[in-house]
Symmetry: C4
Subunit: 126 residues, 4 copies
C-alpha cells in the first residue's frame, strides 16, 4: 500500500484497575484489563509500555512486539517482566511504539456475576 | 448544504471480539459487535473493511455501501464475503470510505444474563 | 475569562438505539439515550440536532438551548418536535451549535435487569 | 526524557451523574464517578476542576495535585471543597492543569446488583 500507516506512535490510558476477584469460570471470564493494539502497517511494531501508579515510581518498560498486519489484545494481567501488575490497585500507562499503531482499552469486571464491561479508545498523542 | 461533510475517510477499531455464545432470545440479544457508520453527506459512501487477526493474514476487503444521509449499523456477525468473522477470536479492523463518515464501535455480550455493553468512538485517521 | 471557550461547534454520534422496553421503575431506570451537552462558555448555545436513519430521510432539526455555563443532559426519548424518536430503531445524529460545546453519548439499557450502560465522547469535527 | 510530556492542559467531561444509591458492600462497590488523571511528566500538575450544572452557577475550582510520574483516580464523590457534589444530579466538568495530563472518565453504578460500568476518554481541548 502506498498510503501512510494508520495510527500514532504514542498513546496513554489514564484508567487502569484490575479487579482482584472473579466469579466466572476460565480465562474468558477472569477479571482483566486489555490494551488492544493494532498494527496495520507493513513493519513490525516494537512497543514499550510504562505503568504509572498513585504513590510509587513508574514500572517498565514492558516490551511487546506486534507483527505487521496483526493485532495483539494484550492482557495487563499477563505482564510479568519487569514486574506483575498489582490487583485492586489504581494505575495508568503510556504506550510507545516505533511505528504507528492504534490502541483501545477494555476491562472485564467479573467481581459480581454477570460481568460488566468498559471500553474506550485510548488517548493518542499528536 | 454548503458545509463540508462531517467525518473522516479512514478509521480503525483495535478491539474486536464476538462472543461465541448468547443467552438472550432473538437477534436483539444475540452476542454481537457492530460498526455504526454514519454518512451525513450527500454522496453515497463506498466502504471497505479489512479485518486483522493475531496470528494470520488480514481478511478483506468487505464492501458495504452507506447511502447519502443514512446510517448503517453493521454487525460484524453478518459479514460473510470473503469469509465469516470467527467467534471467540481476537480481531481488529481498518475501515476506509471514499467520502467522510463517522464510525462508532459497540459490542453486546450476552454470554451471561443479563447482557453487558461497550461502546466507543473509533480511531479517526488525520 | 479571557481563554477561548472549550469545545467544538459540530459533533456526531453514529450509534443510536433506544431500547423499546424497560424493567426498572421510574424515569431513572427507563431505557434511554442521552446527549450530554456542556456549554462552558459565556454565551447561550443554540443547538440543532439532525437524526439519520437506515432507510428514510433525516429528521430535524430538533432545537435546544444550553444556557451559558450550563450542562444539558438531553434524552433523545424526550424529543418530540418535529417527531418522536422511534424505539428499537437504528439511528445516528449530527449536532450543530453556534458556540463551542462538548458532547458525550450515553445509553441506559434496562431491557434486562439489572441495567447495562455505555458511554463515549462523541465525534468532534475539526 | 527529552520528549515532550504527553497530554493536554484542558479537558472536559460532559456526562456527570453520581447515582444516589448503592447495593455493594464497601468503597469498591459504592456508586461513584472518577476522573482518572495521568501526569506522565517530570513536573507536578496543579489541577483545577470546575463543575457545571443544569440550573445553577458553576461550582469550583476544586484543586488537586497530581505528582510527577503519578496517576490520581479522583472520585467526584470525595470532593468537598468548595462544596460536595450532589447525588442524582446531572453535572459536567472542565479540568485545567498547568502541565499536560491525560483524563479518562469512569462511572460505577451499583444501584442495581450486579454493577454497571461506563468509561470514555474525556474531551481534550486543542
Amino acid at each position: 500500500m502506498s498510503r501512510e500507516p494508520i495510527g500514532k506512535r504514542r498513546w496513554a490510558i489514564a484508567e487502569g484497575y484490575i479487579p482482584g476477584t472473579s466469579t466466572g469460570v476460565g480465562r474468558a471470564f477472569e477479571s482483566h484489563e486489555t490494551a488492544c493494539l493494532l498494527n496495520a502497517g507493513s513493519t513490525e511494531a516494537n512497543v514499550e509500555i510504562t505503568l504509572y501508579f498513585a504513590d510509587r515510581e513508574p514500572v517498565g518498560p514492558y516490551r511487546v512486539v506486534v507483527g505487521s498486519r496483526r493485532t495483539l489484545h494484550l492482557r495487563f494481567n499477563d505482564l510479568t517482566d519487569p514486574a506483575p501488575v498489582p490487583r485492586d490497585t489504581d494505575y495508568a500507562c503510556v504506550i510507545d511504539a516505533d511505528v504507528p499503531i492504534i490502541v483501545q482499552h477494555t476491562r472485564l469486571d467479573s467481581r459480581q456475576s454477570p460481568l460488566a464491561l468498559i471500553s474506550t479508545i485510548a488517548f493518542a498523542a499528536d
